[in-house]
């Protein structure tokens, strides 16, 4: 109720005004009534005096007449002789002469001898002894009396002969005519009432000019009047029949034996107020007009206040909803107007801060480019907007960043990233977006671009990385791999698209172009592949994995010295699983660690078995790129070596070039530790990567392993022979041993021997075999250290 300010204000003002008006009105009325009351009191007191004078005059006239009669000798004779008929006739005569209503003759024994109203009555007692006694002494006594329930103004005089022999009592009835007469003589329209009774008995109106209803109420009203005000010229206000009367009560002289008689003089306030009625009407009319004005005014003022407040309220709601564009328009020049201006300033301030915060939250501090959150949001929006039109997402991974951080410091690394970011941003269209995706990755959003449209940009980006990047005066070589995912072919939301682009980077890094578009078939996150990973973990526990070992022989001595441990997964339903099918997948999904744990344990425990069996073979184990990022790997290996009491020199660790290149900082640390432990480190698949010999030199490796693609056709391909030969020479020049894998025939072996390659491995020597077969091979084959020349086994077309 009364919720709005406007209503409250209007209500308050109206109530206040009504209160004041009411107070004023009643004050005026009270003053008028008081004035009338005072006036009428004076009038009443005056009227009372007039009334007393009038009574005196009448009494004088009556008593004069009575005395004349009383001193008449004939009358005295009649009285003295108790001549009742004569007495009565004389009394009648007197009564008629002075207009008296009743004349009595009373003897000295207070008995009524004659009564003009009851001529035939016997002698009854005259009740007012003191009137007689007073008349005896003072020759005259007068009073108001009640006799037979009639009020008389009564005068008593003695009949002197010459001492009193009787008394004449003359009564004039107080009737309505007398009351009317008195009323007429007053200047005010007074009401005159004569009441009998008094202090101890009930007041009874005998004669009154009051209306009948007022007369009825009078006794009760009088009963409540304080006796102190009676006869003291103090008027009181009585309410009779709903009207107020200013009332003056004047007790009259009454003798003992009579009821009290009082005059009630009254002035009706209603009547008195009649002349003031127009004034009250005018006052009321003024009050109503002023009230209307006050109401309209207060509503107008309230509007003037509440409307801008509503405007501000709406503005506050807009701010709450995050909209700061619509400014508040409060045209008033007062406090509210200033509040409106403050509101606008506040909105500007909030908008600015919010924009700054939003910018901070959506941008990368180092490069000033949008961050991943912003990018994903933008990507989702673009996806939503693009409908059917294509859209391309590129992820650019910058290589060697950790290496630069490690060698030149993070600040240089960040500078590099910033420069690259700026460069990327300058290479794309304005409508494209370049964002920093992670510490080493940028993401590029190209709305409306199909895969084909993106090619030139991709080429430009990749080309830009061919030049060194100048950072702090240093020319830094950095590489980049780019993964691409396209909407709608590869995904319909930001998360999926980014994940697929990320997946494509793996492909890109493996390819020579360093660029790949997402290939669903190669995606390790495909459900069937993920299922396979689950099975892989289960398979490790269930012993589905086995190592097959392929012998490596000392070419010069033609004796077995090493074996390479090659994992075999015999899947319970799929059968034999080629390592290429699950190892990259395991690397990408993080399951490689578990596999490595198994592999290390299996190989080292096998080394122990062979040592026990007096078989002197060194086991080579392949480490993946992920293994090299695990700094705890040396510790794990040491633990196993200790457990099986195997010397580190009996375990060779083979690492691919790319595995080292992926995360050089960690790889370097891990490899250094392993080398220090006494392991021989071997670069696997040498020749497929880009690593320069100079770079290899910096690594703690002792061996390179020429990729089998160069060795397989060594006997028939002259170019391969040159390559192999120069590689062997290079390795030897750097102090490294050289292993050739993929030796398929005697000719190749002879060539390798000719060029001084230390170790050979291939189907010509032996395919990978279970460990128990190695024992046989070790003891009985032509490559057995214990025997001399033996016929090599028949060659196979498969490579290891």
């Amino acid at each position: 109720m009364f919720k709005s300010f406007q209503t409250k204000l209007a209500l308050f003002f109206t109530a206040l005004f009504l209160l004041l008006q009411g107070a004023a009105f009643f004050t005026v009325q009270e003053a008028i009534v008081q004035n009338i009351f005072d006036q009428s009191r004076d009038q009443l007191v005056a009227a009372n005096r007039i009334f007393a004078d009038r009574i005196q005059t009448r009494v004088a006239a009556l008593s004069e007449g009575a005395q004349i009669l009383a001193s008449d000798f004939g009358f005295r004779t009649a009285v003295a002789t108790s001549d009742k008929p004569t007495i009565l006739s004389a009394l009648d005569n007197l009564g008629a002469r002075i207009s008296a209503d009743r004349v009595l003759l009373i003897n000295l024994d207070y008995k009524v001898v004659a009564d003009t109203q009851n001529p035939d009555a016997g002698q009854i007692e005259f009740p007012f002894y003191d009137l007689i006694d007073r008349a005896e002494v003072e020759d005259r006594a007068e009073a108001f009396t009640t006799l037979n329930d009639v009020i008389y103004e009564m005068v008593v005089v003695p009949v002197l002969a010459p001492v009193p022999i009787a008394y004449v009592a003359i009564g004039i009835e107080i009737d309505s005519g007398f009351a009317e007469d008195l009323r007429r003589q007053s200047t005010l329209p007074l009401d005159v009432t004569f009441v009998t009774g008094g202090s101890s008995t009930r007041w009874t109106p005998a004669v009154s000019t009051l209306p009948a209803g007022a007369q009825t109420d009078l006794p009760d009203a009088l009963a409540r009047v304080s006796l102190e005000s009676v006869g003291a010229d103090v008027p009181v206000t009585l309410t009779l029949a709903g009207s107020d009367y200013v009332t003056l009560v004047q007790p009259l002289q009454t003798p003992d034996g009579s009821d009290g008689v009082s005059t009630i003089l009254q002035y009706s306030l209603d009547l008195a107020l009649v002349p003031y009625q127009p004034l009250f009407v005018v006052l009321a009319a003024l009050a109503i007009i002023a009230l209307a004005v006050a109401l309209v005014g207060s509503i107008a003022i309230a509007r003037g206040v509440s409307k801008p407040i509503r405007t501000l309220d709406e503005a506050a709601r807009r701010i709450q909803a995050g909209s700061y564009e619509d400014k508040v328009t409060v045209s008033q020049g007062d406090e509210i107007g200033r509040l409106g201006e403050t509101f606008n300033q506040m909105m500007d301030g909030i908008a600015e801060r919010e924009a700054r915060i939003e910018h901070q939250s959506l941008h990368d501090a180092a490069t000033g480019l949008p961050n991943r959150t912003y990018f994903e949001r933008q990507l989702n929006e673009s996806v939503g907007d693009s409908k059917e039109s294509p859209l391309t997402v590129l992820l650019v991974e910058i290589g060697r960043v950790s290496e630069i951080n490690y060698t030149l410091g993070h600040e240089t690394g960040e500078d590099l990233i910033r420069i690259i970011g700026q460069r990327l941003a300058s290479m794309v269209k304005k409508s494209d977006m370049v964002a920093r995706h992670s510490s080493t990755m940028f993401s590029i959003l190209m709305p409306g671009a199909a895969a084909a449209d993106v090619r030139p940009i991709v080429d430009r980006i990749l080309a830009s990385f061919e030049d060194a990047v100048p950072v702090a005066g240093i020319q830094l070589d950095v590489t980049a791999a780019i993964g691409e995912a396209c909407y709608p072919d590869h995904g319909t939301d930001a998360r999926t698209l980014l994940q697929r682009a990320d997946t494509a980077i793996y492909e890109a890094k493996a390819s020579s172009r360093l660029f790949a578009t997402y290939d669903p078939d190669a995606d390790p996150h495909k459900p069937e592949r993920l299922t396979m990973m689950g099975e892989l973990r289960k398979g490790l526990d269930n012993g589905e994995f086995k190592f097959f070992y392929q012998p490596k022989v000392d070419i010069a001595a033609e004796k077995i010295t090493h074996v390479e441990a090659l994992v075999r997964w015999i899947h319970p339903t799929r059968g034999f699983m080629p390592p290429d099918d699950f190892i990259p997948l395991a690397e990408q999904t993080g399951n490689i660690q578990k596999l490595t744990e198994w592999a290390l344990n299996a190989a080292i425990s096998q080394a122990r078995l062979w040592l026990n069996a007096d078989i002197d073979i060194i086991i080579a184990i392949n480490l993946s790129a992920r293994d090299l990022t695990n700094r705890k790997l040396p510790e794990q290996i040491q633990h196993l070596l200790d457990r099986y009491s195997v010397d580190a020199s009996r375990i060779v660790l083979e690492i691919t070039e790319s595995a080292i290149m992926d995360d050089r900082d960690n790889a370097m640390a891990v490899l250094t530790a392993l080398s220090k432990m006494g392991h021989t480190l071997s670069i696997d698949d040498y020749g497929t990567g880009y690593s320069s010999m100079a770079y290899l030199k910096a690594l703690p490796v002792q061996e390179i392993k020429i990729d089998k693609s160069f060795v397989l056709k060594l006997a028939s391909n002259k170019e391969d022979e040159i390559l192999v030969r120069s590689t062997i020479d290079l390795g030897h020049n750097l102090g490294l041993k050289v292993v050739a894998e993929g030796v398929e025939d005697q000719e190749s072996l002879d060539i390798l021997r000719k060029y001084g390659c230390e170790t050979g491995q291939g189907y010509f020597i032996s395919k990978p075999v279970p460990p128990e077969d190695i024992e046989t091979f070790y003891r009985e084959s032509r490559w057995s250290p214990n025997k001399d020349t033996q016929t090599p086994p028949e060659s196979e077309s498969h490579s290891a």
Partner: protein, 214 residues
Amino acid sequence: MVRLSLLPRIVAALLLMVCSTSSIAATLSAAVFDSDGAPVADAVIFIVNGNAPPAPAPATMVQRDQSFAPHVLAVSVGTTVEFPNEDPFRHHVYSFSPAKRFELKLYGGDDVQQVVFDTPGEIALGCNIHDDMLGYIYVVDSAHFAVTGADGTAIIDGLADNETYEAQVWHPRLRGPTRRTSQDVNASAPARFEIGLKRDRRGQDGSEFEEGVY
């Protein structure tokens, strides 16, 4: 007033002379006071059970200066009272008292008016012409009576020594319907009477109106 008070003494002296012829020797000295202790004049004292009254001697009630003199005249039963008019104008003396109702119509100084009072009791005298004139004749059935003077005292002769009599006092303003009071007296000792008086209607005794109620 001095003259007024002398007259009863003369009358009393005359009576005394009449009585002295009898064998009665004792004299009663009586005094009348009102309730305030003031001496009361014009009180009639008479012995109820004394000797039978002797043949009455005439008495006089003079009208002089528009008043009766004496104001109170005591006489024994059968006394003839003369009403000489000494004023230069006429009077119309009357009485409506039950003890003696009479009317002496307009008479002057030349006319001798006589009235015989043969019934004991009080007679209020008035004049029809002059309303203010008031006098009393009190008729007693007794040989021994007197009217008090201004000092409130009176002497009553002819009483036996050491005999107790019933004495009555009458006064026009004495309270009670008979305006009389009775008391035993003995001549061997002065008698003292105390009577209650009503207010004087017209201040004839010099007293003022005590109150004016209206």
